[in-house]
């Protein structure tokens, strides 16, 4: 009998199916509508008469909504789409076919990544449209604040959206790693949110590590710093809001950094799932 090789086609088939399943779920639509509504409703900033700075508030709110709802979507979708396969026994049927477990896990992962990509793309496009139309209106109303012309750089706005998505891909990989050994969906979701907070705060642990304390605390903080990626590196969206240009070389480096963590977390998820009893 000929060998069954790892197949990218099977991975993509599983990913497409995962995306399709997610897109038909109410949670996805709910979070998307909520986030879109929030960005759309940000027009109420006009009441504060911030002038040109209104654009900063709009951008911050848009990327904040993308980060918050995106993280919620990523964690819940990863856990839900993974455990629905186990609990509904569809994984049983799928893995009874000549399918590698690595193909199954990577398919699930890419499916979730595609879900987050759709979410971030829609949010970014809407945000760019809102910001552009608002800037056009402000240009007409208060031209003195725009002596240099338009201040919005669409490339930077798109890059910030990309970085938000990149962060979510790392979060999805870590949530999948948790799901690979977790017995319940609830545990996975709760742990996923803990991972999110730790990844945002691990730099504080490193500061504490650098500033001293007991040897044990130093070692523990240093170890935590190694285990979890530093999500602060992805927060270029704040810079866009503050009018700081995004450096392309830095984006490239952060992309490699994210890819490294995604590869490790997915690899470990496959390792953990390899012997899992379905």
């Amino acid at each position: 009998m000929s060998r069954v090789h790892f197949s990218l086609i099977r991975v993509l088939l599983i990913a497409r199916n995962t995306l399709l399943e997610a897109s038909r779920q109410k949670l996805f639509s709910f979070l998307l509508l909520l986030a879109l509504g929030l960005v759309g409703g940000a027009q109420s900033f006009r009441e504060f008469n911030f002038g040109a700075s209104e654009l900063k508030f709009l951008a911050d709110l848009g990327y904040g909504a993308m980060a918050f709802f995106g993280a919620a979507l990523t964690i819940t979708a990863t856990a839900q789409l993974f455990f629905s396969e186990i609990e509904n026994r569809t994984a049983l049927t799928l893995l009874a076919k000549p399918v590698w477990r690595a193909e199954f896990m990577l398919g699930k992962y890419l499916g979730v990544v595609a879900v987050t990509a759709v979410f971030c793309a829609l949010m970014t496009v809407l945000l760019v449209a809102v910001l552009w139309s608002r800037e056009s209106a402000l240009l007409r109303d208060i031209p003195d604040s725009f002596t240099q012309g338009r201040t919005l750089r669409i490339a930077d706005l798109l890059l910030a959206g990309y970085l938000q998505w990149l962060k979510l891909t790392v979060l999805a990989a870590f949530t999948l790693l948790v799901a690979s050994f977790s017995r319940t969906q609830l545990f996975t979701v709760v742990t996923g949110f803990f991972v999110l907070v730790i990844c945002h705060l691990q730099y504080l642990a490193r500061d504490a590590y650098a500033q001293g304390g007991s040897t044990f605390a130093q070692v523990a903080a240093g170890f935590v710093g190694l285990l979890f990626p530093n999500f602060q590196l992805f927060n270029f969206a704040d810079d866009v809001g503050a009018g700081i240009p995004v450096a392309w070389d830095r984006v490239a480096r952060v992309s490699v950094y994210a890819l490294g963590h995604v590869a490790a977390a997915c690899g470990l998820a496959v390792f953990s799932f390899r012997k899992r009893e379905i």
Binding site: L13, N17, L20, E21, N88, R89, A96, P98, W100, I278
Partner: protein, 295 residues
Amino acid sequence: MSTVASAVPAIELRGLIKDFSVGLRGVKLRAVDDLSLRVPAGQVFGLLGPNGSGKSTTIKIILGLLEPTAGGCRVFGLPSTQVEARVDVGYLPESPYFYRHLSGRELVRFYARICGLGGAKVAPRVAEVIDWVGLTEAADRLVGTYSKGMLQRIGLAQALVHDPRLVILDEPTSGVDPVGAAAISELILQLKAQGKTVLITSHLLTQIEEICDRVAILDRGRLILEGAVCDLVGRAERQALIVEKLSPSELQELRGWLGLRGRTLEAVTAPRARLDQIFLERVGRGEAKNPEGGG
């Protein structure tokens, strides 16, 4: 199939043991206990036993979904832990749930492509198996709207789409009405006629008796009986004669005639028709392929 190939059993279990650990202390629950079985190629093999007897665990080991604690399992000569061992296997799980957001056709196409079917072959093959299980009319409806019987049939279609040599059916008639169950029995016999090996578990012992060549009975994970169905259920030292109703004097005469030959008449009863046969006669087997049936 060559002679050498057919000499290789479809499934071979040797001293199979499966323990499940519970808790950190590692308390073991033994689901399968020293099970040895051979399922010859081309036969319909019934795996019987009460709930919790280890049937489903055994099937999961055959499918490589579980690893045995001890012993070995081979499928067409390959260890079941290898992905390659599943290339020639189709599987219908008990009470199958499929992706509800796909239509029946999309679902079967998905599994066909997962099994490596591609290009122009996919669509006709998908249509063929859907037609074979009698779901052509409902093929473009979402699976989420299917009845239980239809789910079993679409499950059968996905199990067969890549034309496997071994088909494993875990309780294929569970929750299905007699019409649907009869239709599935018919499909299994057709599979046998195509030369496929079928491993089936079922609570419907009548159905098993009708379609299986061999059966094995498990209890508490152990094999307690195994053999050809005709050998197990036949009672060679007894006979039943069915005649038109005799008058009391004729009956007395018969007893006398038997007595002269050293025989006794052990029972006189009126033969009863089986309820499922009456049901099928009245409802009609022709409706078994009605897409709405069997739920």
